[in-house]
């Protein structure tokens, strides 16, 4: 027999009341755990995905939307920009490097991004198998896609129009997997990467096809010409850096820019926003704006968690205090058997600490479980990039908070226990 065992017995003597208090505390701590994990991983991810991108240039619209769509690949693009204009911008002496992006299609919800090999380099992509695209319609897929869609090298698939599932398929020309990337834990895990040309040609066919439908009379001659044209075009090597070569008037969705020097940060955005039909947005600025907006929601959740924890603390206090009233005799008996007042204080503290420790463990477990559930329900959204089973050292703080709640809740009951008079309690002297 020891103090730990006695307090454990007391705890399990009232399974319902103890269980409820543990659960209440666990709920509050679970919310904090979820917030902690999401915040930590989101921030890390956001910084990671935006690393090396000084400025994003795209069609006019919401700058936040431009960043979300072009850097994090979550929102819809703001529109397209003319490639001539983009090229002119690339020649500015303040610009070190430009990576064009062409968005607009998806494969079962995973985005197809037309770009050049610089993009792979930007994210430090490494190949698990195969190599980068060389010709139109060759694609490199991220590790998550390879895993979820069970794709191998040489597999063919068709893209669908739009950047989320459910639109019509581009079934004229299949994409061929030429490479599979190793998992990097960043945005490219969930992307199908290909050349800008591939994206253009997919949509050319689309237009070609609808022309066909409208002008049925010229079908045969037209069709043959297109077919021939395609064959030549489809087997030319694509541009591996900079902009693709073309004589036609083309568009891209957005540009990722790197500055040559700090001066660019001041001059370029103003120049682009006022001097062109495009807009420039800085990832770091827009993200801090977004976090500011989200901050309100996070504060509300944090407040809720604190309220839950306070309620749980009160619950533990009330439970201890009430049970101590019934237990006055027990305490007096223990004193009569030779227990010192301090041992009784320990007994009370131990019970409350056990309660809160169990609550903390359960809460952290629930938090991770909840995240795992959310992640498994949203396989293709950005949420799926969260790792629910990563444990942060901050979670030790949660255990610390919980134990602090336990100590505070048991202060008054412990004092009562300390003052127990055996004589008064047992013999009604």
């Amino acid at each position: 027999m020891n103090l730990f065992k006695i307090s454990w017995k007391y705890l399990t003597f009232r399974p319902l009341s103890s269980g409820l208090n543990i659960f209440l505390l666990a709920l509050g701590l679970a919310i904090i755990t979820v917030l902690l994990l999401v915040q930590d991983q989101f921030e890390k991810k956001m910084n990671q995905d935006a690393a090396g991108i000084d400025l994003v240039v795209g069609a006019k619209g919401s700058p936040l939307q431009l960043i979300l769509s072009s850097v994090y690949q979550i929102d819809f693009p703001t529109g397209n920009i003319k490639m001539d204009e983009a090229k002119r911008l690339a020649q500015n002496r303040l610009v070190k490097k430009v990576i064009p992006l062409a968005l607009g299609d998806n494969v079962q919800g995973f985005r197809i991004v037309g770009t050049n090999h610089d993009y792979l380099e930007l994210y430090g992509a490494e190949f698990a198998e195969g190599k980068a695209w060389e010709e139109p319609f060759e694609v490199v897929i991220g590790s998550e896609i390879a895993q979820k869609l069970k794709m191998k090298l040489g597999d063919e698939f068709t893209g669908s129009h739009g950047i989320s599932m459910g639109s019509h398929d581009h079934d004229q020309h299949n994409f061929v997997v030429s490479g599979i990337l190793a998992a990097r834990g960043n945005v490219i895990d969930r992307l199908v990467l290909t050349s800008v040309e591939s994206v253009w040609f997919t949509h050319d066919e689309e237009e070609g096809n609808s022309d066909q439908g409208e002008e049925t009379h010229s079908e045969e001659s037209h069709d043959g010409a297109i077919e021939e044209d395609h064959h030549a075009k489809f087997h030319q090597p694509v541009a591996k850096t900079g902009f693709p070569e073309t004589e036609e008037e083309r568009e891209v969705t957005s540009l990722l820019l790197q500055f040559r020097n700090p001066m660019a940060a001041i001059q370029l955005p103003r120049m682009i926003n006022s001097g062109t039909s495009m807009q420039a947005a800085s990832p770091s600025f827009e993200m801090s704006r977004l976090f500011e907006l989200l901050g309100v929601g996070i504060s509300v959740l944090q407040g809720l968690a604190v309220v839950l924890i306070v309620i749980a603390g009160l619950g533990i206090f009330i439970a201890l205090y009430n049970s101590l009233k019934e237990r006055k005799y027990d305490l007096a008996i223990l004193r009569a058997l030779g227990a010192s007042p301090f041992q009784l204080v320990w007994l009370v503290f131990m019970e409350s600490l056990l309660l809160t420790f169990l609550g903390a463990v359960l809460g952290i477990g629930l938090g991770h479980l909840f995240l795992a559930l959310v992640v498994s329900q949203n396989e293709q959204s950005v949420v799926s990039a969260i790792q629910p089973w990563i444990f942060l050292y901050q979670e030790l703080w949660i255990v610390g908070y919980a134990l602090a709640v336990g100590v505070i809740a048991s202060l008054i009951p412990a004092w009562t226990a300390y003052q127990t008079s055996i004589a008064k309690q047992l013999t009604k002297a």
């Binding site: 027999m1 223990l334 009569a336 030779g338 047992l426 013999t427």
Partner: protein
Amino acid sequence: MLLRTETLQFAHPGQKTLVFPDVKLDSGDSLLILGKSGSGKTTLLNLLAGLLKPSQGSVVLGDVAVSSLTGKELDLFRGKHIGIVFQKPHLIAALTVKQNLELVPFFSKKKEVDIALLLSELGMESKANASVLTLSEGEAQRVSIARALANSPKLILADEPTSSLDDVNTEKVIQLLKQQASKIGAALIIVTHDQRVKAHIPQFIEVQTT
């Protein structure tokens, strides 16, 4: 002489001072403390157990002045050398019969306690792992006696141990107390106004309100 008190006095706050007759007792002896309700006989018991401090006089058990011990020393001394049986059993409901008895060696830091033997002597071995909530009043009181005896004390104090028991159980409890006390050579003091007890123990002192 095992237990000796000298000119014990005690005053409850706001009440007049109680003066107690001296108590002298050898190992193995039994003594009743009689008196009307409110005469202070339970107060005397508390003074003997070191649960209250006398305003004057002293209690000496063996060669230790109980009345001058304080704090942890007193707690431990009580745990080791004094066994107390209260009016109600006051067993700890969250624990089994055996666990209730196991509290004794833990708190008194006396390790050589044979709980199984004790239980079998009380005829309770079959209930060792039962919850104390399932015991009858008489059984519960026997367990509380076992608890008082478990550390083989020098002095056993019982505060009206039979007041809520029927004749059969009273008989059992008194026999048990006498037997066990003489077996471990402890002095036994019972505070009571129960006539059934007087028949068993001839020696008594009376506490009177003066």
